[in-house]
């Protein structure tokens, strides 16, 4: 991982690839790499779909090694959805394979003069970029089948579906999983639209003939990995609950806590919650010959993903994640798991962010385009997006754009990005993260739900404003660091509770790089990443007024606890004071 692959898509005479030295980016990985390149090289006032924007795809610091959980990929750019910096994060095989191919990042630059569609193939022999217009408007599953037929089944793909080609704000970038299905997505912020603007349909990776990345201190690294895996297995969340039920185990608890946004964030309880819960989902999967416990990439020991079959036992989609089940389910008043799994499949196939899409449909339902609870109508609306009809183009613009198009007052977005599955009035710590994150409303940026609801890393009462600023600040710093390592964020459940598992993570990094990183060093890394991102956003025109929730969250009480978001503005402005 000692080179950056820069591909100028706008080069005269066709795209040109060049492997460059790491230079000032040496030692960076994942989100630190994407945010460093974007903040330094992309003019903050550029149009996100223009030639000046760049798409950076970076494996984490530990990706491509034998370290467990190290298969996360960061995708960065200026976001067409938020207008600010973006890092969208994905599981799947791509990060491990790209790292083993020797690249710390792929940077897509410039813009082709024609509307040809390109295919990029990277293997041990080099890089081949070719025009392949036969791929135009292919959905992700069909595209991957075609790549498999052409290049065999040892490949991994990073691709966009029709939504990316149409440069929609909801467009994701898909990464294939262990079964070579395009089920894992860098979902948020319209990163797929930026890949589409570069004219790149798919990057095919093949690491045949390459080896695992070798640590500087193999013994220390091996020992640290063992302690790290033991720590993950021993913690009840990473060792038991996530493998057994997946992320959707959260439906019941958020619903019981009164923080489960239903009917476009109108109330915190959903009567159909039990029918779409993780418990019901796991039972359904087992009954139908699916798989409730499954890793999204090789080297995952938590295995929170799964495979969801239809009534006849045929593959319908990967196990829909909690956020998807909420966005397409509870938030739209839909309580049918089969319909939700179908929506998950359609989103993956068209290359759409499930959170933004579900939140958008709920806004459309509020506008009367469809009735809350009408699953068939929701499926039809996503199909409109895939087709790119006029209605589909509006919905494909995301919740904020749809709200404006249809005159909806209550649109749950920050910096133009839709809120995920926790109401900020009833889970106030996550409200602070939604408001202040450099990414727009993003639960993963500082997952205060852990401490507000799940009692991981201590407990801060979700219904009061005290302690939420500090909680969100510390989690945002830690997350920025973890997102740079290539580690799955779910290691945080064990790392927050078990000091020796946190130490094992630090020892993994030191064993690999031969450095002397400390816990304080991890904090410094996180702060550095956030500072680069904040700086980019400031130069892009963001002020303190963008670090706010929509006004109605402060003025309208949320049932059942009848709470408003009451963290003071001047306190929100202190989140990044360090």
């Amino acid at each position: 991982m000692d080179k950056i692959l820069r591909i100028d898509m706008g080069s005269v005479g066709g795209p040109k690839a060049a492997a460059k030295e790491l230079g000032e980016y040496a030692g960076f990985g994942g989100r630190a790499m994407t945010s460093a390149i974007i903040s330094k090289e992309v003019p903050p006032l550029c149009h996100p779909l223009g030639a000046e924007n760049k798409l950076v795809i970076a494996p984490g610091m530990l990706s491509g090694t034998v370290a467990a959980m190290s298969g996360r990929l960061s995708v960065g750019c200026k976001s067409p959805l938020t207008g600010g910096i973006k890092e969208a994060n994905s599981g799947g095989q791509a990060a491990q394979v790209l790292a083993r191919l020797g690249f710390a990042a792929i940077v897509l630059e410039g813009k082709p003069a024609t509307d040809d569609l390109y295919k990029i193939v990277i293997n041990k022999d080099g890089i081949k970029i070719s025009i392949d217009n036969s791929l135009k408007m292919l959905p992700n599953y069909d595209l991957v089948e075609k790549m498999k037929a052409e290049f065999g089944d040892k490949i991994s793909c990073i691709s966009i579906g029709p939504a990316g080609e149409m440069k929609m704000n909801v467009a994701s970038i898909a990464c294939t999983d262990m079964e070579l299905r395009p089920t894992r997505h860098a979902g948020r912020g319209g990163v797929g639209a930026v890949m589409g603007s570069k004219g790149v349909k798919v990057i095919v990776l093949d690491d045949s003939g390459m080896t695992m990345r070798a640590p500087k201190d193999p013994e220390k690294f091996r020992d640290a990995n063992k302690r790290f895996v033991d720590g993950l297995k021993q913690h009840p969340v990473t060792g038991q609950a996530l493998p057994a039920y997946g992320t959707n185990v959260l439906t019941n608890i958020l619903n019981e806590a009164g923080g489960y946004p239903t009917y476009n964030f109108k109330q915190g309880n959903f009567t159909g919650a039990s029918k779409i819960s993780g418990e019901t989902q796991a039972e359904t999967e087992t009954k139908r010959g699916g798989v409730p416990t499954h890793g999204c990439h090789r080297g995952c020991v938590i295995r929170c993903s799964g495979i969801y079959n239809d009534k006849d036992g045929h593959f319908l989609s990967k196990q829909p994640e909690y956020e998807t089940v909420w966005a397409h389910g509870g938030n739209c008043g839909i309580d049918d798991l089969d319909s939700i799994a179908m929506l998950d499949f359609l989103d993956d196939n068209y290359g759409i962010d499930t959170i933004e899409m579900g939140a958008t449909i709920a806004v459309a339902m509020d506008a009367g385009i469809a009735k809350f609870g009408d699953a068939k109508a929701a499926i039809d609306l996503v199909k409109e997006v895939g087709k790119g009809s006029h209605l589909g183009r509006i919905l494909g613009g995301g919740a904020a754009m749809t709200g404006k198009a249809f005159g909806v007052e209550r649109v749950p977005v920050v910096k133009g990005q839709a809120m995920p599955a926790y109401d900020p009035r009833a889970v106030k710590g996550i409200g602070v993260t939604y408001a202040t994150s450099t990414m727009g409303a993003d639960h993963t940026a500082g997952y205060a739900v852990a401490t507000n609801i799940l009692k991981v890393g201590g407990f801060v009462d979700p219904l009061t404003s005290e302690g939420q600023i500090e909680l969100s600040r510390n989690l945002q710093i830690a997350t920025a660091a973890v997102d740079s390592t290539g580690m799955c964020l779910f290691i945080a459940f064990a790392v927050l509770d078990q000091a020796d598992t946190f130490q094992a993570l630090i020892d993994l990094i030191n064993g690999f790089y031969g450095g002397q990183l400390t816990g304080d060093g991890v904090v410094e890394l996180g702060k550095k990443v956030l500072s680069m991102e904040r700086d980019f956003n400031t130069r892009a025109g963001f002020t303190a007024q963008q670090d706010r929730l929509p006004r109605y969250f402060s003025t309208e009480a949320f049932a059942p606890h009848n709470v408003k978001f009451d963290v003071k503005d001047e306190d929100l402005d202190k989140v990044f004071n360090w």
């Binding site: 996530l242 608890i253 806590a257 929170c304 609801i453 009692k455």
Partner: protein
Amino acid sequence: MQITIKLFATLRNNRFDSSKMEYSAGTTVLDVLNNLSISEKEAAIIFVNGRHVERDHVMLDGDSVSIFPPIGGG
């Protein structure tokens, strides 16, 4: 008095999902846990009427208690 008890995830194994039960006045959450043979470690998160409570919380007639093992996701 009547209390609604809701169990989730692994706590449902060999028990129930939801049940209404009779308890005497002054019953605490801990009494309910003991009655159901749920250990302290297993009952990581407890809500009464949607609010987090500790084990010594005294239940009232008509209360609903929801008990979760350690879970996470997101």
